[in-house]
């Protein structure tokens, strides 16, 4: 029997020699390069976004996933890489992105009208090559539509970026890429911060006061899946070198003061200026 097994193994190996060398040899997971996502707590916990892999970020609306994506784009464009954003529902806001540090001249924005256009555009961008980060934003697409995307699409995307330095990021409301994604993060919003405007002596009492400003909110990001050993240039503590499934990390999103050009509000009590 063992001779039959050996003969069969030899036959399979010789048949696959041209395509797959040593098909029965166990392979260690390759080390991949990871780069910072731009949020320190997320970088420490995950080690950064891996190159040549698919990273999936999902969560309901207002959970902070767009902020995480924009932060990653800012990080990559600051490193002089060219990035691409495939926007399935044309929801990208250039003003807030620039305020967050994204260099718009290094961002190729593809404004789609449906999922099919978004998938085809992503395919073309991956084939074109040369991008540091390609983001496919399905954040506003209803989950029941994204569920119909076959799994082989994500698998094909993952294979296409595998031997490239491109980071492929997928933004959704629920997880669909399954094992095709090397890193899966689930985001949930937590507490919202409201700030009291200066000059107002009264304590803010919700539900409403015209003397308050939206300060930001706290998001919770949980690592659902991380399947790659990564070599990373991100300085992280030793015990965070291999992120554990279920590790959660909080990060805070802050409303900046300069991403819109609105006039200062004059009607609010307290006279505080709104940071837009």
């Amino acid at each position: 029997m063992s001779s039959k097994t050996s003969a069969l193994r030899l036959q399979v190996e010789s048949a696959l020699t041209a395509r797959v060398p040593s098909p029965f040899q166990h392979r260690d997971r390759p080390l991949v390069d990871a780069v910072p996502a731009g949020i320190s707590s997320v970088d420490i916990s995950t080690g950064g976004f891996p190159r040549g892999s698919l990273t999936e970020i999902y969560g309901p609306p207002c959970s902070g996933k767009t902020s995480l994506l924009i932060s990653a784009l800012a990080s990559r464009t600051a490193a002089s890489e060219v990035c691409a954003l495939v926007d399935a529902r044309d929801a990208f806001d250039p003003q807030s992105a620039e305020a967050a540090g994204v260099k718009l001249e290094q961002l190729l924005w593809v404004r789609c009208r449906n999922v099919d256009q978004a998938l085809r555009s992503t395919d073309l961008l991956i084939q074109g090559g040369g991008f540091g980060l390609i983001a496919l934003d399905l954040g506003d697409t209803p989950p029941n539509i994204v569920r119909y995307v076959p799994l082989q699409v994500w698998f094909r995307f993952r294979r296409a970026v595998e031997s490239t330095p491109t980071i492929l990021v997928l933004l959704e409301q629920e997880s669909n890429a399954k094992t095709c994604a090397s890193l899966v993060l689930e985001l949930r919003a937590q507490k919202t911060h409201w700030l009291q405007t200066s000059g107002c002596s009264e304590k803010i009492s919700l539900p409403h006061s015209p003397a308050c400003l939206l300060g930001g909110w706290k998001s919770h990001a949980e690592i659902i899946r991380s399947s790659l050993k990564r070599k990373t240039r991100v300085l992280i503590p030793r015990d965070h070198l291999f992120p554990n499934i279920g590790d959660g990390v909080d990060f805070e999103a802050e409303v900046l003061g300069n991403y819109s050009h609105a006039e200062c509000g004059k009607a609010s009590v307290g006279g505080g200026s709104r940071p837009r």
Binding site: P36, A79, S80, D90, W109, G129, G130, R188
Partner: protein, 536 residues
């Protein structure tokens, strides 16, 4: 000192046959003039052997079997002449534009680059063939001898110094281009060849034929001497093709475009230039409606052909004809012409080719040519206006931006940054907070608000309803009051707690913890509430 002359025999015919190789081996006749009095103006060798001569009426020429009759094309002649000049400039910086069908090159200092004079001649011959011209090439130590020898001898002729008269002796006197009167005189005298003419005594010749005779005598002996009249470099890169049958399909059109682009890129390469932009112009077949109207006219006029023009701006100068063809195909698929094409013209704006050097520590950029193709393919999917780089506009109008053409970033500005990034590991971000991002609803979503003491208390939009848990506003913004599309808005940041799960649509099906942060605004001129987007 040596000079080369390139002469293109049957130039008018070769100009037409240049872009259509199938015509080169067939009897080709060019006609000119207004019908019905159009006549033959040029024939190639095959047609000449059949007995067709210039001056013959078109109807007579058409009676010969297998003859291809085409109209004379002055545009094609201009293009062929430009190609001839490109051949010259690709080899020597000093050329003389001797005639429409001939040029002369100064070969001084070129033997070190191209080899012997014979090698130079071979190189010129192969270049001519590459450009679709069959030329005679002659090299001699003086300009006029080279020019005469090119007209007289087929193929490549190299005349050693001192043997000019010997080589020219057998040629007919017509190669000297005498005036009509002089030619008649020489014919009466029985002077047929250059040798006969060269043997005439010079003194008696000058008495009878004057200075013109003396000049021709020197030409016949290969003893004339003059300076080269240097032609100024021209940048005329255009190729044209007139089609026998109009073309409607993209595939056959691509084949023709590819041929023209190959010629254009070869000419650019010969001049060490590249195309910074490509302009295509199609003459379209007149439409059926026009034809019907023409029949109704009392004075029948030929309908003017429609025109289709497109300009392709390239991110970097290139002479890759295959890449240019792909870009043109994608552009034509996006905006196809609305009628069959009967004439194609392609022109290139010439520029110096790019010179780039890769860096060891540079991050990878998309290759500009590949990126241009990728963007063109994406434009086919989403539309040209929906792909590009966003750019903010200098205005206070909320959400204003424009899309501009995407170009890869300049290398030199980032060189120092790349070096620093390579030497030092990437540092993790030090900020504890990340800037908030916004997701825009395009177009803004109409909403209904139930106010309470001057601020929103309940909201309704997109089939959702919710209570306002917290609000910040109103923040007034307005501008451009002097224009028709001025704006006046009151913005509110609202934290909304939505009602029960069953009342929500899929967009917020999994909103947890059942709330969201939205930006609402009241449009004063329209008197309506809208949702601009949400904070995510």
């Amino acid at each position: 000192m040596a000079f080369a002359s390139i002469f293109v025999p049957h130039f008018m015919v070769q100009a037409v046959a240049r872009t259509d190789s199938s015509l080169r081996d067939r009897a080709l006749v060019l006609i000119d003039g207004n019908p019905p009095s159009s006549s033959v103006v040029a024939v190639n060798e095959v047609a000449a052997r059949m007995g067709i001569e210039p001056g013959m009426a078109k109807a007579n020429a058409a009676q010969f079997a297998g003859v291809e009759i085409r109209p004379r094309s002055r545009t094609q002649e201009r293009i062929a002449h430009a190609a001839l000049l490109d051949i010259g400039w690709s080899v020597s910086p000093r050329i003389e534009n001797a005639a429409e069908d001939a040029i002369i090159l100064d070969l001084a200092g070129l033997t070190g680059i191209f080899g012997s004079e014979k090698d130079i001649g071979t190189h010129l011959d192969s270049l001519s063939a590459e450009f679709g011209l069959s030329a005679h090439i002659a090299i001699a130590s003086n300009i006029d001898t080279a020019q005469i020898a090119a007209r007289g001898f087929p193929g490549i002729t190299v005349i050693p110094h001192g043997q000019e008269s010997q080589y020219l002796s057998g040629l007919p006197v017509s190669v000297l281009s005498p005036s009509m009167e002089m030619a008649e005189t020489l014919s009466r005298w029985g002077v047929r060849t250059c040798a006969d003419f060269a043997n005439l005594p010079i003194l008696q010749l000058s008495e009878r034929l004057g200075q013109e005779g003396v000049r021709l005598h020197a030409l016949a002996r290969g003893e004339s001497s003059r300076s080269l009249v240097i032609a100024e470099a021209e940048h005329f890169f255009e190729e044209e093709m007139e089609l026998d049958d109009p073309v409607e399909e993209l595939d056959p059109l691509s084949f023709l475009l590819g041929r023209l682009l190959d010629q254009l890129c070869a000419r650019l390469a010969a001049r060490s230039l590249a195309a910074a932009a490509i302009r295509v112009r199609f003459e379209l077949q007149p439409s059926f409606d026009n034809a019907v109207n023409i029949r109704k006219e009392i004075f029948r006029e030929k309908a003017a052909p429609g025109l289709y023009e497109k300009e392709l701006q390239l991110p970097l100068p290139t002479r890759d004809s295959k890449m240019l063809l792909k870009l043109l195909r994608l552009r034509l698929q996006l905006n196809p012409p609305n009628a069959a094409i009967q004439k194609i013209a392609i022109a290139a704006h010439a520029a110096r080719p790019r010179a780039t050097q890769g860096g060891l520590f540079r991050p990878s950029f998309p290759d500009p040519e590949k990126l241009e193709l990728t963007i063109a393919r994406i434009a086919q999917v989403v539309g040209e206006a929906s792909v590009g780089a966003p750019s903010l506009v200098d205005t206070y109008r909320p959400g204003e931006f424009r899309m501009r053409r995407f170009l890869t970033p300049q290398e030199t500005a980032e060189k120092n940054h790349h070096l620093k990034a390579a030497l030092y590991p990437e540092e993790q971000s030090k900020n504890s907070k990340t800037p908030t991002s916004f997701r825009v609803f395009r177009p803004p979503v109409p909403a209904k608000i139930e106010p309470n003491i001057g601020s929103p208390a309940r909201v309704f939009f997109r089939g959702l309803s919710g209570e306002v848990a917290a609000a910040s506003g109103p923040w007034r913004t307005s501008g451009e009051w002097w224009q028709e599309n001025s704006w006046q808005q009151e913005e509110w940041d609202l934290e909304i707690h939505f009602h029960s799960f069953s009342e929500r649509n899929d967009l917020h099906a999994k909103c947890h913890p059942d709330c969201g942060l939205y930006l609402f605004y009241y449009d004063l001129p329209r008197g309506s509430w809208f949702v601009r987007g949400l904070y995510d």
